[in-house]
Symmetry: C3
Subunit: 117 residues, 3 copies
């Protein structure tokens, strides 16, 4: 059986779970007081930080499922996404509108492979 | 290639699919006539039952994606969740509002690792 | 580390990502001008085509998460699904209502195992 590792900072959920060489996590903006552009940019930066923490990088992303609270923010998402996603190594991407609650405007579910040793 | 196993009781979907040492399944309450507290409690109990069936346990959960029909039930979810999630071994968790249809108030998508042999 | 392969035809997202022997992808209808029946049928046919491309088949599906823009199309989905899903080898299935934007009526997130060699 491959090892199972967790990065845990709160009792309710793991920041990251790594199973074998696959990592799973969820990002919402640390500051949900920001507008959509701010939250989306922050979430993408947080994904970079988490990738660095687990020893991976953007080219190892497998899948990102994006929940937007308001599809009116889809063009802003695409603008920031297109500047961020690594050319030639994009992950699978789904984008749907879901209720997120409070002032949270974007939530991304990330699956990534660890980096080749 | 790792083995692929299914637990199947209806033609439409598998109760569980196990690929290698990763298990995937979806839970909705067996009794969707219950209120939100009842359905959430039942879904968590059903997850325990499925974990036992596949020879795993709560500490091996990787990810749970929670769809609530109404975010007004989020506090009830958190109350029941916090009492259920194993301290120090929480899964990654996402929680969004989605339409579930009929009287279904909660649906959880579960990914878990099999137990170490 | 298992290999990571991508099928990429646009900069924004991968058509398929294969990690080890697990494939991930998302399907929306190539023609979102079709009605719900047309889009659902097209998405299922596109899944067949993708399975063939990666050297897999319907009996190797692990999980399909279905987002419908309108739950009024759930009966049509079930009718087409039931005729399509391989008897005795169904994947795990979740079905929720989410906003999809434009005229897109259905989006499916697919996880599948490669075929035994």
């Amino acid at each position: 059986m491959p090892p199972l590792h967790r990065l845990v900072s709160t009792p309710r959920y793991a920041d990251v779970v790594i199973h074998g060489d696959t990592a799973y996590w969820v990002e919402v903006a640390d500051d949900t007081g920001l507008d959509a552009r701010g939250q989306i940019g922050q979430v993408l930066a947080q994904i970079d930080a988490t990738l660095a923490t687990i020893g991976s990088d953007r080219t190892r992303l497998i899948q990102i499922v994006i929940h937007l609270a308001d599809l009116a923010d889809a063009a802003t998402l695409d603008e920031l996404w297109d500047a961020w996603v690594p050319r030639g190594h994009p992950p699978v991407r789904a984008r749907v509108q879901s209720g997120l609650g409070g002032t949270c405007l974007v939530e991304m579910l990330v699956t990534a492979a660890l980096t080749q040793p």
